[in-house]
């Protein structure tokens, strides 16, 4: 216990030096790109910035999918001349019900439903079953829903990232959370309004023909929708459900100003598929109106004057410079597969962030000095050994947090400070034990030896129980509070090393150098 081999000494000192080395990158920018330069990152509460938690509206996706299945079934059954009634969606149970008039036709209907909806996915997306009273039920399977949700999650995260990248925010962090949420962290953004608006639109654009025969005041015919105009929602226009060209087939969109009228519009360029579709539809419908539909609103409904073969188009809809730029940005980034809503926003302005850094740093400094002074006054030389171990502890903690590029939050700074207060507990246990052994009449070396041995199991047990509580906090906490749990958990780990090994090494060296007959306890 009271002997350190050269190797062990070197290892302990080496670990401390490594800790110092790992802290260095926090002091300056990387001098050269090839160096592994890992820094502690500041949380949004210290740096200033905006945290948005976005919820993906999966329900609407399921409903949309059921709608599509319903439409396909309806078409299929009509083609197969099977009489049915009461086709109704039940999105709450992911189901679709319909009633077949003639019981003999049920097997045929089941076959049609299955064929019509056949998906190539490995997991079947739905099941079709016949129940009492000629009722047929189509149910989306859990596996199918799960696969769809995963795909939507991935796609949404990707599109959110593209939209935010286009705004020029530096170092944004976009991470999926759970099954249906996306966390967006925007350092330096103190007014997230513009970004929230950008993310609040699905930006699904379609080009559809206008149904000139339908009345916009009566109910919509089955193959058309009655949609409001974007610039004046009281004006309605009937548009076929059939999508002729999809906004997903765009390769580019940019805002430009008409040199003659001074109006802003958005220039579009379609990819090969989009260009072909656009050429076909425009060629077949010269002289007829088509509608540019964005998020269920009609931006404009111009007439095809001629066939458009080159896949280049322009939307004019009374845009301002910012609305044209935003629309172009949204179209370039792509449409969101499902609507997003912000369910949590936390914004910290740069002033408060700077205040918090000052408050945290001051508390850390004062708290550190108080603990150091107490240990020195209460234990003398052995207290100073504990203090040196405490500094080593702090450096190692910082080093480990740097290596993992952990995020330091204001509660995280509180965690560091409390760790300092708790870390000396191990030294206190050891020192008290040594005192007791001295009182029991042990010689210095024996007192130190027994003191360390006896204190060890206590140190271990008491730290493990404290660690349990903080690991739970890390697992269930969110945001800055996790930063607190993280620093404390790391701190407990480093404490086990420094308070025992580093302090012991110092004592052993001191004893070997001075050979005292009485311990200063």
């Amino acid at each position: 216990m009271m002997y350190f081999s050269r190797l062990k000494t070197a290892l302990v000192v080496g670990a401390c030096l490594l800790g110092v080395l790992l802290c260095v990158p926090n002091l300056a920018k990387a001098p050269a790109a090839f160096l592994p330069w890992r820094q502690i990152r500041l949380g949004l509460d210290l740096r200033g910035g905006s945290y948005l938690l976005m919820q993906i509206d999966m329900g609407s996706v399921i409903k949309e999918r059921l709608q599509a299945i319903g439409d396909a079934t309806r078409t299929g059954l009509r083609k197969g001349e099977i009489a049915f009634s009461g086709l109704a969606l039940d999105p709450a149970h992911n189901e679709l019900h319909l009633h077949i008039r003639d019981a003999d036709q049920i097997p045929a209907a089941l076959k049609i439903a299955n064929d019509e909806l056949d998906s190539t996915a490995t997991t079947p997306e739905f099941t079709v079953s016949a129940g009492d009273n000629n009722e047929v039920t189509i149910t989306l399977t859990d596996g199918g829903i799960r696969a769809r949700e995963l795909a939507i999650m991935e796609q949404s995260t990707d599109i959110v990232r593209r939209r935010i990248d286009a705004t020029g925010v530096i170092d944004p962090e976009i991470t999926p959370q759970g099954d249906d949420r996306i966390v967006v962290q925007l350092p330096g953004v103190s007014d997230p309004n513009a970004i929230k608006q950008l993310l609040g639109r699905t930006a699904k654009m379609t080009f559809r023909m206008v149904d000139e025969d339908a009345s916009t005041t009566a109910a919509a015919p089955p193959d058309a929708d009655i949609l409001p105009m974007a610039d004046d929602p009281s004006q309605k226009i009937a548009v076929y459900k059939q999508v002729d060209v999809d906004g997903g087939d765009l390769t580019d969109a940019e805002a430009s100003q008409d040199t003659q009228t001074g109006e802003w519009d958005v220039n579009l360029r379609f990819d090969a598929t989009g260009s072909r579709e656009f050429a076909d539809i425009s060629g077949a419908n010269v002289g007829k109106r088509f509608a540019v539909v964005l998020d269920n609103q009609v931006i404009e409904a111009p007439v095809f004057r001629e066939a458009i073969p080159d896949g280049v188009g322009q939307i004019t809809g009374g845009f301002t410079v910012s609305s044209a730029t935003n629309l172009a940005l949204l179209l370039r980034a792509g449409a969101l597969p499902a609507p997003l809503t912000v369910v949590e926003e936390r914004t910290v302005g740069p002033e408060l962030g700077a205040d918090s850094i000052r408050a945290g740093a001051l508390s850390l400094l004062v708290g550190f000095l108080l603990v150091v002074f107490f240990m020195a006054a209460f234990y003398g030389l052995f207290g100073w050994f504990a203090n040196i171990a405490l500094v080593a502890n702090l450096l190692l903690m910082m080093g480990i947090l740097s290596v993992f590029q952990a995020t330091l939050t204001l509660p995280g700074m509180a965690g560091i400070l409390l760790t300092l207060g708790m870390a000396v507990d191990a030294n206190i246990l050891i020192n008290e034990r040594i005192r007791e052994e001295v009182r029991n009449g042990k010689k210095p070396i024996q007192a130190m030896q027994t003191g360390f041995e006896r204190a060890y199991s206590t140190i271990f047990d008491s730290n493990i129980t404290a660690l349990l509580a903080h690991v739970m906090l890390f697992a269930f906490g969110t945001g800055p509070v996790r930063g607190f749990a993280l620093t404390i958990s790391v701190g407990i780990g480093t404490t086990l090393f420094t308070a025992t090994l580093v302090a012991r090494l110092l004592m052993v060296r001191w004893y070997a150098a001075t050979r005292p007959t009485v311990l200063p306890v």
């Binding site: 809503t341 302005g349 269930f476």
Partner: protein
């Protein structure tokens, strides 16, 4: 100070008979905890934004803030029931708005409120703007309670595993008493109960357990060492032997948390005040609650379990 210790907080070889006060300790603790539980139901905790949902904005105006103007302009923009108050300096304004019916309404309200506040006086800076929707707040609350429950369960299992079940039950019962008192403290001080407070309570649990484990550890050791000493004397002896350490450690943790309470800013000082309270409760409860519970539970059992009796009896 550099070689010899300057002072001692506890003289050597104290022989305080703590267990004499065991019924008083338990009774006072039970009373305080019962009162806290009553306070928890009425008037109840002041739930913060994290758990209640809603909107909180903090702004700093260039000159002294005109609170009436801010109230009026918010009302004019349709932001109803906004609570506008001063916090800290006279140019710092805190605006609280209750949870809205839908997430979309919450979002439009915070955007309107932010714009209104910035427009109310040129040069106004938004220090902080938070909006928490109803679904998120209930989820955060559930997760917070879950973290508390699981930590207690894990501590119970760990101590059971490392010591005897009497120790584990004593520790967890004491922890529950500590937590209820902390909640009573929060109700009385009207400190807001939010995620940071859950962190504070978990830290108190961690600290308090740590303290109990140290005392228990000494009891376990003494049980082996003094095979014939009555449990009551043995517990007193163990507490006296660890007293200096108990006071030293609670002092260092107290000293570390103190600057946070003084300079840590609004949210951290509430956290640190709760911690300071918890340190006092956690330290005293090791002596006056955990030890008496152990004495009651283990009066006859622990002696039989641990002291190895005659060799013949050891073979089962």
């Amino acid at each position: 100070m550099f070689i010899r210790p300057l002072f001692r907080l506890v003289p050597d070889g104290t022989k305080i008979k703590f267990m004499r006060g065991r019924f008083i300790g338990l009774a006072v603790s039970a009373l305080l905890s019962t009162l806290s539980v009553i306070l928890f139901f009425y008037p109840g905790l002041d739930l913060g934004l994290d758990f209640k949902g809603g909107i909180v904005l903090e702004v700093r105006t260039p000159g002294p803030a005109d609170f009436n103007l801010i109230r009026k302009s918010l009302a004019a923009k349709g932001v109803a029931n906004a609570e506008v108050q001063r916090f800290g300096a006279d140019n710092e304004v805190l605006v609280k708005i209750e949870s809205q019916k839908t997430e979309a309404a919450t979002q439009s309200t915070i955007d309107t409120a932010r714009a209104t506040l910035i427009a109310s006086a040129p040069g106004t800076k938004v220090l902080e703007a938070d909006a928490v929707g109803a679904s998120v707040s209930s989820e955060l609350f559930r997760k917070g309670l879950l973290a508390l429950g699981i930590s207690l369960a894990m501590i119970l299992v760990y101590i059971w595993f490392r010591f005897e079940w009497e120790f584990a039950v004593g520790a967890v019962a004491t922890l529950i008493l500590d937590v209820t008192k902390t909640i009573g403290f929060l109700v009385i001080t009207r400190l807001q109960f939010d995620l940071v407070m859950v962190a504070a309570i978990l830290t108190i649990i961690g600290y308090s357990t740590n303290d109990k484990v140290v005392v228990y550890d000494r009891m376990r050791e003494n049980l082996r060492k003094y095979k014939t000493m009555p449990l009551r004397e043995l517990i007193d002896l163990s507490i006296n032997e660890t007293l200096s350490r108990t006071i030293a450690t609670s002092s260092t943790v107290f000293l570390a948390a103190l600057p946070l309470a003084l300079f840590g800013g609004a949210s951290l000082s509430a956290f640190a005040l709760t911690m300071l309270f918890g340190i006092v409760v956690g330290t005293t409860s090791s002596i006056f609650i955990a030890a008496p519970i152990l004495l009651l539970l283990g009066e006859h059992r622990l002696r039989r379990d641990i002291a190895p009796p005659k060799p013949a009896a050891r073979k089962k």
